[in-house]
């Protein structure tokens, strides 16, 4: 499952956001939407853990796998300095994937931050084309809109500071979409982004009875279910009503009905 991946491209996408392309044909072949790769960043000698990144795109023909990442700490800072030709070790594809829409469903992807990266393959694989609701703090954190447009998705934006699109929360765009759905299309939701946003989204849609999948993640170590670092609460048939589920192998994608919001 681990595969040695040569870097074919590593460049700024926008501001602190970068895009890196690895040559990993085996991983590409098996990738499903919403899965991630677990990357041992080269040259990061004093940090021993891998970093998980959603698979943003794969090209099965060329063996190219794309990750979109933001510089947030030591690891991503070093990753951004790696030159073409450097080799990193990748594990993947890992995790439970999204279920693309069927013929009669209309996909609504709700994404924040790197959530647009994690849902891009999903958009490409949905047989019916839908809408991407993309939210962030400000314009600087909105990436990959062009990719969704290429996939024939309508893109609606929201920012907390109003620098572009709707000023406010992305969940307000969700309410808009639901209000607009006067012809009663069968909406199917997908959420990926910061946990508070996903919790708000999941609860709201559960109340309204829509199908929704959420990609929940947490700090990871092993990436394969062995260490119990990455857990989130899901509903369970025990006295507490919840248990900790591993986002790396029981997730990151969960049905919103299974998530414990309490």
């Amino acid at each position: 499952m681990p595969e040695v991946g040569e870097i074919l491209k590593n460049e700024v996408l926008k501001g602190d956001y970068y895009k890196v392309v690895f040559y990993v044909p085996e991983i590409c072949k098996n990738t499903k939407p919403g899965q991630f790769v677990h990357v041992k960043i080269a040259n990061l000698r004093d940090r021993i853990l891998r970093r998980p990144f959603s698979i943003c795109d794969v090209d099965v023909e060329t063996g190219e796998l794309t990750v979109a990442y933001k510089i947030v700490g030591e690891g991503t800072k070093v990753l951004a300095t790696l030159e073409v030709g450097t080799v990193c070790d990748l594990m993947g594809p890992l995790g439970v994937s999204f279920t693309p829409t069927k013929d009669d469903e209309f996909p609504v992807i709700v994404a924040g931050g790197y959530g647009s990266a994690a849902t891009h393959i999903l958009a490409k694989q949905c047989v019916t084309k839908g809408v991407l609701l993309l939210g962030a703090r400000s314009e600087d954190d909105l990436i990959l809109m062009d990719k969704f447009e290429e996939a024939n998705f309508e893109v609606r934006l929201s920012t907390n500071d109003g620098s572009v699109g709707h000023q406010g929360l992305v969940t307000e765009l969700v309410e808009q979409i639901i209000a607009e759905n006067t012809d009663n299309k069968k909406l199917r939701f997908y959420g990926c982004g910061p946990t508070p946003m996903l919790m708000a989204l999941g609860k709201m849609l559960e109340d309204k009875g829509y199908e929704c999948e959420l990609s929940l993640d947490h700090l990871m170590c092993c990436g394969v279910g062995a260490c119990f670092a990455c857990v989130v609460k899901v509903k369970a048939n025990n006295e507490d009503g919840w248990r900790y589920a591993r986002t790396c192998n029981e997730g990151p994608v969960f049905n919103s009905k299974d998530v414990y919001y309490g």
Partner: protein, 305 residues
């Protein structure tokens, strides 16, 4: 190929490399990577009587050349472990030599868990964790008090005929004293070290990086401490010693063997590279060949000064 067969009292392993408890799940998680039976042994994550949630999140934080964890022994409990498809039954089928790491919230629970494992097909030995720094009850309290350590192991000894390994805490003034007392109490061998108590604070939020406030330090950062303790303990007791703490490569494992460990366990390195234990087995073999040794036993404790 040198002879890697490793005898730990009545327990015979095909090679001296096992996985460290808590870093290899229940084996099933890594079954697609390589045959689990290629390992000296699989040591599963700590099992207590009842299912347990473990600690709140965040449970881990990365630090220089290591990590802190306070998983808090999340686990399925004895029943599910013995009967649930993805636990012991899976390991049995895999052909892995399985060592079950156990713990309890009280001395009685330790004994109860040990008794439940006694005579169960597919369990090669028990590793008694008296050194987990991350649970409120049990765990480390037993591992940092000589009398408590002796009592726990005596009770566990009485509860099972399985070979007993006691996992020692490094958070003590003299670990050799703990090794001696648990051997007196009937432990057939000892394993060390568990994690060092540690803490990290996010200076921006001013919150501890781990919800449990403190956690256990593992990885290369602790290797020199582990080597020293293994060296001390191997001199102090006559039973087999299983060494661990920061083993990333075959060279690290060989350092433990030279210091006096009869076998080693690989933990945090598995997160860096799931194949680490396999590469370490191969690397030990190569080292033995290069040094003209026929068997791994020829280098155990052979540090010279």
């Amino acid at each position: 190929m040198a002879d890697l067969t490793t005898k730990l009292g009545s327990l015979t392993l095909k090679n001296p490399v096992m996985t460290a408890s808590g870093t290899f799940g229940y084996g099933v998680e890594y079954a697609d990577f390589y045959p689990l039976s290629d390992l000296g042994a699989v040591v599963v994550k700590g099992i207590c009587m009842n299912p347990s949630h473990g600690n709140p999140t965040p449970r881990v934080a990365e630090v220089s050349s290591g990590m802190l964890n306070a998983i808090g022994l999340q686990g399925p409990g004895v029943d599910k472990f013995l009967n649930g498809e993805q636990y012991l039954p899976f390991l049995r089928k895999s052909g892995a030599t399985t060592i079950v790491n156990i713990w309890g919230k009280s001395i009685e629970e330790y004994a109860e868990v040990a008794a439940a494992m006694d005579g169960v097909d597919g369990i090669a030995a028990l590793e008694v964790n008296i050194s987990c720094p991350n649970v409120k009850e049990g765990g480390v309290a037993f591992g940092t008090d000589l009398k408590m350590a002796n009592t726990v192991i005596s009770k566990v000894r009485a509860a099972t005929k399985l070979p007993l390994i006691t996992k020692l805490s490094p958070n003590v003034t003299c670990i050799a004293d703990f090794a001696k007392t648990v051997v007196d109490a009937g432990s057939d061998m000892v394993s060390l070290i568990n994690t060092l108590s540690g803490m990290a604070i996010d200076i921006h939020t001013r919150k501890p990086k781990i919800a449990n406030i403190t956690g256990g330090l593992s990885g290369p950062a602790i290797k020199p401490v582990a080597i020293k303790m293994v060296h001390d303990v191997a001199k102090a007791v006559d039973v087999p010693v299983i060494g661990m703490g920061g083993i990333m490569t075959a060279d690290d494992a060989i350092e433990f063997l030279l210091a006096g460990a009869d076998a080693v366990a690989v933990g945090t390195a598995i997160f860096t590279d799931p194949h680490a234990p396999i590469k370490i087995i191969e690397g030990i073999d190569e080292y033995l060949e290069r040094h003209g040794c026929n068997s791994v036993s020829e280098i155990i404790g052979q540090v010279n000064y």
